[in-house]
């Protein structure tokens, strides 16, 4: 600890004399300043704020524990982050065309959005799927759809991220089989399945099964991939949706890492060794609107996770302590009013993510508060990333904001506050119990409500919404999902159902049922079922019968 009494004296002198004089003539805009998450802000940060910071212990070097300065030793000097635009709509055929467009535009990884029936394990011809087929993503019923989805895309050349949770094993199985048909073995596949069920219960809503069998599906995947798919990210532990549901930055870090702790513990409990699976865990955060707070958040999350893995779970391998994460700019900050302004918001949020050291990035399109984005809007969003990468120069030195008195102070504060929450959740019995009791849901909801009120009371300004408003013009073109998509999908599904060998399907589903009733790993039997064109709904149907369905508690 440094003696900073001289600096403290001169700071006080500056405040009493220089600042006081200025404030008398020009009062500050607010009585007290806070980050968007409500953390108190000082007027000025100095070396006094960092006198307890130990460089080697708290920051260290890029690529080294505790990874505060990033997981790559050379930052973005070797390779830029992966530019990965989340997309998918209508049928596999149309989404395949969008994928080809994005790859031609210089995108470096794929990210698939599935429609809601797919995400909840219903076939397109299920009654509950009515009106939802192909709406928020692509509809996938059988392997045949996946074959079309990746037509002309060599799976050993791209990495693919799939936003799929409850039925993650089924979509992963389909991906493995499509690759096999292309002649690519599964050990060469790179990509990610989201596979994060806990945040579905609190923030995103596409759960199917209750927590216990859901955790089993997840640990089965961990086990299967640790043996067969060394390059695959088995989970993307997601704070993005928690933040979008209205949490603060501190809550986003705390609840995401608490979920992470639950997954790690579950895997250890079924006999996996921490260093066998932990390096394939990945994370996903939002990039909201408070520029410096977000940069600090990414750095704090990385350091806190490293410490949890080393100190709590005794990971020996440094790779187990590396938090690698994807980032998406915050959808909830997009405005329907003056939508072109969103281009600027997204640019700032993307820059934050890069300064925070993200491994991959999705930039939102300007029109997403109105509908799915048009091709033109998606192109601007992708160009935003390319401008940051190739023109701004921020990627040419590693973690350029380290050492800023403010950034490091805020990084410390976020880490400490998140740890307090994690402690509280531990005391309750972990994330699953905290979710069951509605604690996490209520904390998020309270923060969301407070935020909305502060906007309504114009304590917080949203440009174009509660200040600087104009008479809105009717909007430019938006993307309308092909209204025939649902019908086309139903026709395709009907064809597959008549073409396939029903006896094979029956047999595969029987084998799956037996596996589900025992503690055999489910992945191999799901792969077999997928191969004979069992539908997603049939596979999830078997699991529904055995595992039951989750009913959400009514929390307001």
């Amino acid at each position: 600890m440094r003696d900073d009494s001289k600096l403290r004296d001169s700071t006080k002198k500056w405040e009493d004399e220089t600042v006081a004089k200025t404030i008398k003539r020009f009062p500050e805009r607010e009585e007290s300043f806070k980050t968007i998450s409500g953390l108190p802000l000082k007027r000025l940060y100095t070396p006094s704020d960092l006198k307890d910071l130990n460089y080697e212990k708290d920051l260290g070097f890029p690529g080294q524990y505790p990874f505060t300065r990033g997981v790559q030793p050379t930052g973005y000097r070797g390779r830029f982050w992966t530019m990965r635009q989340y997309s998918g709509f209508a049928t596999a055929r149309e989404t395949n065309q969008r994928f080809h467009f994005l790859l031609e535009q210089g995108q470096t990884g794929l990210s698939i959005a599935f429609d809601l029936p797919t995400q909840i394990g219903y076939d397109s011809d299920d009654q509950l799927a009515q009106g939802e087929v192909g709406k928020v993503g692509v509809a996938i019923d059988t392997l045949a759809d996946m074959e079309v989805l990746f037509e002309g895309i060599p799976l050993d050349k791209v990495s693919t991220s799939m936003t799929i949770n409850a039925p993650a094993s089924v979509l992963l199985a389909m991906y493995i089989v499509v690759a096999e048909k292309q002649g690519v073995s599964m050990d060469k596949l790179r990509g990610t399945i989201q596979n994060d069920i806990l945040k579905e219960y609190v923030a995103r809503g596409t759960y199917i099964f209750p927590p216990t069998p859901s955790m089993r599906l997840i640990t089965d995947i961990f086990k299967f991939c640790s043996q067969n798919m060394p390059l695959w990210n088995t989970i993307s532990i997601s704070g993005y949706h928690i933040r979008e549901a209205g949490s603060t930055a501190v809550q986003e870090v705390a609840f995401t890492l608490a979920d992470g702790i639950a997954y790690v513990q579950a895997a250890i409990d079924v006999g996996l060794d921490i260093d066998e699976f932990a390096s394939r865990l990945s994370f996903f955060f939002g990039s909201h609107s408070d520029f410096l707070e977000e940069i600090s958040k990414f750095r704090a999350a990385r350091r806190l996770w490293a410490r949890i893995m080393r100190e709590r779970f005794k990971a020996k391998d440094d790779n187990s302590c590396k938090m690698r994460f994807h980032t998406q700019t915050a959808g909830c900050t997009l405005t329907a009013q003056q939508p072109d302004n969103n281009v600027v918001r997204v640019a700032l949020q993307a820059l934050q993510a890069v300064l925070g050291g993200t491994q991959s990035l999705h930039t939102n399109s300007r029109d997403e508060a109105l509908s799915l984005p048009t091709e033109e809007s998606v192109q601007i969003a992708l160009r935003t990333q390319q401008i940051i990468a190739h023109e701004s120069g921020v990627g040419d030195t590693v973690d350029p904001l380290a050492g800023s008195f403010y950034i490091e102070s805020l990084t410390n504060a976020i880490e400490a506050k998140a740890m307090e929450y994690i402690q509280k959740i531990d005391d309750m019995g972990g994330a699953s119990v905290a979710i069951e009791r509605g604690f996490i849901q209520r904390e998020i909801h309270d923060a969301a409500y407070q935020f909305q009120k502060s906007v309504d009371e114009t304590k917080r300004i949203v440009v174009g919404v509660n200040k600087f408003t104009v008479e809105e013009e009717p909007q430019f073109d938006y993307l309308r999902v092909n209204p025939k998509a649902e019908k086309e999908q139903l026709t395709e599904l009907k064809k597959i159902r008549t073409k396939r060998d029903d006896n094979q399907v029956k047999h595969a589903l029987k084998v799956l049922r037996d596996a589900a009733e025992s503690d055999t790993n489910l992945m191999p039997s799901i792969i077999e079922a997928v191969k004979v064109y069992a539908t997603l709904g049939e596979i999830c149907g078997v699991l529904r019968e055995i595992f039951g369905e989750y009913r959400a508690p009514d929390i307001l």
């Binding site: 809503g205 209205g246 009013q337 509908s371 909801h445 409500y449 919404v465 307001l556």
Partner: protein
């Protein structure tokens, strides 16, 4: 409108959409404004929404959808209400609903659509002014 009678509102999430931030915030704001609010939770079929509205004897139904399924589900709910002979319940909606869809939804009987950025007060005042008690 008699001031002694409390407005009862059903806030519902029809369809498979899991985005409930808006629905829950609106539910809380209506409650804070003195209304009695019943929130259905996620994944309600049109039939479930209508039967909840009947059971609870509400004066207003607030529907929230962000998945794009509004053109299929909102009119279906209006149809079922009609079949049940209910024509005095105010039905409003919100979510990501493109401008060109609004006139069709209004024709189907949705009284108002509140898009992103709508102040909570505007929704509260609209319901107070238009609900039939």
């Amino acid at each position: 409108m008699s001031s002694s009678k409390k407005i009862r509102v059903l806030v519902a999430k029809p369809g498979l959409d899991g985005h409930d931030r808006g629905a829950k915030i609106v539910a809380r704001a209506l409650r804070d404004a003195g209304m009695e609010v019943i929130y259905t939770g996620l994944r309600q079929t049109p039939e479930m929404v209508v039967s909840a509205a009947l059971d609870e004897g509400v004066h207003c139904i607030g529907l929230s959808i962000l998945s794009g399924a509004h053109n299929a589900l909102f009119p279906k709910i209006m149809e079922l209400l009609k079949e049940e002979g209910i024509d005095d319940v105010l039905v409003v909606g919100g979510g990501i609903i493109p401008e060109d869809d609004i006139s069709e939804l209004k024709k189907a009987g949705i009284s108002a659509i509140f898009g992103p950025g709508t102040p909570l007060d505007e929704i509260v005042e609209y319901i107070k002014a238009n609900v039939k008690l």
